[in-house]
């Protein structure tokens, strides 16, 4: 009986413990918010990266098409591929 009366009930907490728990909870909430903020930031950066990769893919595609045309031209007229490449480099230099 005495043991029972002296042991703390699980529902009854000291004010200090309650304050600690509240602090922990608010810390957890802040961490969650920070995770969400960082995640949003990551998503935004992923989209930016996607846009850059998309542009790169478009340029890669153009490059491969030009290279293919250059190879076709070289196969038909020897030396034409070199001249074509030279012309492209000149044009790039101007722009």
């Amino acid at each position: 009986m005495s043991e029972q009366s002296s042991s703390p009930t699980p529902l009854r907490q000291k004010p200090q413990q309650i304050a600690e728990q509240q602090d922990l909870q608010s810390e957890l909430d802040r961490s969650r918010e920070e995770i969400l903020r960082l995640r949003d930031l990551l998503i935004g950066m992923e989209n930016e990266l996607g846009a850059a990769r998309g542009r790169l893919a478009m340029q890669e595609d153009s490059r491969s098409r030009i290279a293919s045309a250059q190879a076709q031209l070289s196969a038909k007229i020897p030396g034409a591929g070199f001249l074509f490449g030279l012309l492209l480099r000149l044009l790039r230099g101007r722009t």
Binding site: A51, R53, G54, A57
Partner: protein
């Protein structure tokens, strides 16, 4: 060989371009033509002078001068009334024809005499004669025609059919040609595309080619009305809207009147992966997005799950989808085709919507959009635009080059509009991915479902080609956008035997992609194609002498 009546309404045309237009007609290598010119009360005196002198020098040129200005439709109808040829060809007063334009069209008609409408590729030309803006077009694509006036120049119609539909309609002034093409093609027996640049559209400040919307703002509104009238005529339940950025592009918004039961078949293994930096069970994410975002009401979800699928995933799916969910257990080694066939077998819907579990719904009216097209006569499959989570394009239709399939613009920037707005317009293609496609159950069963000997790759391409050879069209809808966290559920590697099997089955059919163009590769021009307008047969010397027109006095 048919006789061509070239009809040309003329109004205040600059002298140099008017002469060039006349010269381009007189220089035709095909001789059986007449040029019907309707001068729409031009105030500048040189117009009458040039036209009269041309008519006096060439008996095949006939001119009518009007005292009052009737507008483009009135003048076009007057020129049409002058026509006596079996076919009428439309030529604008400031444009030019390739010397072999009529010869190539004539050849095409000779090859298939039931042809009622022929169109060709075109480019733009400036006042100095520099060519640019080459437009390589696909073969006849009805869905594309509803969102873009792509056939445009050079258009040649069977005259009897043009008269049957009442000629040019004044209600659509400025887009009377779009309206005419829609009306004629609704009745045409055969439509032929000649993949050659046979028309040069001159860019002047006053023309739509040079000035865009500012030159003829009323024309784009008229185009929208013409397509709306066409949709109403053929019973396509859609409202036509203009693209906010591109004046020549239209969008169809679904206005469906009935909602057939749609069975969404999702094969899954209950896999997890990071989606937007958060670990996600893909199928849960997919089903949740369907339930939360779809505005369509009459659908069921048939989940075909493998033995390895965790039971807690099944429980959560039940929680998310409730009574709409139907679970089908698939036993055996992974075979996408078998899973889809099993799902189709266990579905009750009139329409089947095949969906990968790594898809997330973005467009709320996605099912309405698919039903709008799927209900249309002649349409077998509908697909949409799929993007990766970082916004890049993953799928905007499948094209063929050298008999092998490939995705148009895969990995390109999400805002990329495509060659000739190919990403932004509805169009037909030879295939769409089974990651998200709708087909009727009847069509699915008629072609024998998915081919089970292609368990991983190309089963969707194979299915689309089966539907294509059955005479039905495959539609890409640009306004149906979904996220696709691709290849998270299977090995993305394509095996040699899969390519060989596809070649064996479809090598002949897919050798030429009717929705591509010999000058395009997966939707983009080949480099030599930019110079294709130079491929012309020069007229013999004696003929060049004869073609020289008198200088203006």
């Amino acid at each position: 060989m048919p006789r061509f009546s070239i009809i040309t309404p003329v109004y205040e045309t600059p002298a140099d371009v008017l002469r060039k237009m006349l010269l381009s007609v007189r220089g035709q290598s095909h001789g059986d033509w007449e040029l019907c010119l309707a001068n729409d009360a031009s105030k500048q005196p040189h117009v009458r002078g040039i036209l009269d002198r041309a008519a006096a020098a060439e008996p095949r040129i006939r001119v009518e001068h009007s005292e009052c200005n009737e507008g483009i439709v009135g003048a076009s109808n007057r020129a049409l009334a002058m026509a006596r040829g079996e076919f009428v060809a439309l030529l604008d007063h400031d444009d030019a024809l390739h010397p072999d334009a009529l010869a190539h069209v004539s050849e095409a008609i000779d090859r298939s005499p039931e042809t009622d409408y022929v169109y060709t590729d075109e480019d733009k030309i400036d006042r100095q004669g520099w060519h640019s803006g080459v437009f390589f077009k696909p073969d006849w694509s009805p869905e594309r025609m509803r969102t873009q006036m792509y056939t445009c120049h050079f258009s040649v119609f069977r005259r009897s059919l043009v008269e049957e539909v009442g000629g040019f309609d004044p209600e659509f002034e400025g887009s009377q040609d779009w309206d005419l093409v829609l009306k004629v093609t609704e009745r045409a027996r055969r439509i032929v595309h000649v993949p050659r640049i046979l028309y040069h559209w001159r860019m002047l400040e006053s023309s739509a080619a040079g000035g865009g919307e500012a030159a003829k703002p009323y024309a784009f509104e008229a185009g929208k009305r013409a397509v709306q009238a066409h949709c109403d005529r053929i019973g396509l339940p859609a409202e036509v809207e203009r693209d906010p950025e591109e004046p020549g592009v239209l969008h169809l918004q679904p206005r469906i009147r009935h909602q057939p039961l749609v069975s969404i078949v999702i094969p899954t293994a209950g896999q997890r992966r990071d989606v937007r930096f958060e670990e996600t069970v893909l199928v849960e994410n997919c089903v949740r997005s369907i339930v939360e975002r779809s505005t369509y009401e009459n659908y069921e979800i048939v989940c075909v799950y493998g033995e390895a699928t965790p039971p807690e995933v099944i429980d959560r799916l039940r929680e998310i989808a409730g009574k709409r969910l139907r679970l089908v257990l698939y036993e055996g080694k992974f075979n996408f085709s078998k899973k889809i066939n099993l799902g189709a077998l266990n579905s009750n819907g009139e329409q089947l919507l095949l969906l990968n579990d790594d898809i997330e719904v973005r467009t709320n009216d996605w099912i309405e959009r698919m039903v709008m097209y799927a209900d249309l006569d002649g349409v077998g499959i509908v697909g949409g635009r799929l993007i990766w989570s970082d916004g890049r394009l993953q799928h905007v239709g499948i094209g063929f080059d050298g008999g092998l399939p490939g995705h148009y613009y895969r990995g390109f920037h999400g805002d990329y509009r495509g060659y000739a707005n190919g990403v932004m317009i509805a169009r037909n293609c030879l295939g769409v991915t089974a990651a998200c496609l709708m087909t009727s159950k009847q069509t699915f069963e008629a072609v024998g479902g998915m081919t089970t000997t292609l368990p991983i790759n190309f089963n969707d391409v194979d299915f689309c080609l089966k539907v294509h050879v059955s005479g039905q069209r495959i539609v890409y809808d640009p306004d149906l956008v979904m996220y696709h966290f691709e290849s998270s559920s299977r090995d993305p590697e394509v095996r040699h035997w899969e390519i060989e099997q596809l070649r064996d089955r479809w090598g002949v059919v897919a050798a030429v992609d009717p929705y591509g163009n010999p000058n395009l590769r997966y939707g983009l021009p080949r480099i030599p194609a930019y110079f294709s307008w130079t491929k012309r047969r020069p007229a013999p010397m004696w003929r060049r002498q004869r073609l020289r027109l008198e200088p203006m006095r």
